[in-house]
Amino acid sequence: MAVLHTTNKSPLQTRDLESCLRLSRPGCGVLLIEDAVYGALAAGTTAATLTEAARQRRIYVLGPDLAARGFTAEQLIPGVEVVDYGGFVDLAVEYHHVQAWI
């Protein structure tokens, strides 16, 4: 019963991502949207945490939110998958349910 977790806040402003990663189970998906996309940047402070989490989870970033903030897929930590809005819908269907960390 894999869950898709979503988080939308910058990891430097709230601890939502940290809680999401702590409570999410191996095999689940974590989709970073809106200001949460900063959390997946290789140069950012949460890169190591997310890289570790990605060993047992699939990490996704919403592409339009990344582009709006001036970053590209090449600047993300390795293994992160970029999806568009259609991909977001596909993930919501693919996983058992969606849990938002807001």
């Binding site: 430097l12 402003q13 809106e34 200001d35 903030r69 001036g70 970053f71």
Partner: protein
């Protein structure tokens, strides 16, 4: 009614606008710009500070077509036309995010926390966004 009120026409105050939020995720960055332009319209001494996630407001290459929001990042480049030329970025915030001045879309003065704190103390009004 004839006496001139304190703070009336002609008085210039030092306004510092402190930006601590990333753009687009919340409305703060855009609202801050509105206040900056109003301050400039009233010929006030306006300076801007970008710290914490606020430094992301100045990131080059923002493309917002995909999220259906106005890309207001070009406004920062136009601020000089309104005589708003004092833009400060906190060094610690920039470094924590792996950014350098080359990643920013406008020339800024990079200051350490101590210098920035001292500058804040010298303002008449500090508005936080």
């Amino acid at each position: 009614m004839s006496e001139e009120r304190e703070g009336g026409a002609g008085q210039v105050k030092r306004f510092m606008i402190v930006n601590r939020k990333a753009p687009y995720g919340t409305i703060y960055a855009l609202e801050s710009l509105e206040v900056v332009l109003i301050g400039a319209a009233f010929d006030q001494d306006v300076s801007l500070v970008f710290l914490d996630d606020g430094v992301y407001q100045l990131k080059k290459g923002q493309r917002t077509q995909g999220i259906g929001q106005k890309n207001f990042s070009s406004t920062y480049r136009a601020l000089a036309d309104y005589d708003v030329e004092k833009l400060y970025v906190e060094r610690e915030s920039l470094e924590a995010r792996g950014l350098t001045v080359d990643d920013l879309l406008v020339p800024v003065e990079v200051l350490g926390s101590a210098e920035l704190g001292a500058l804040m103390e010298r303002q008449d009004v500090v508005l936080a966004f």
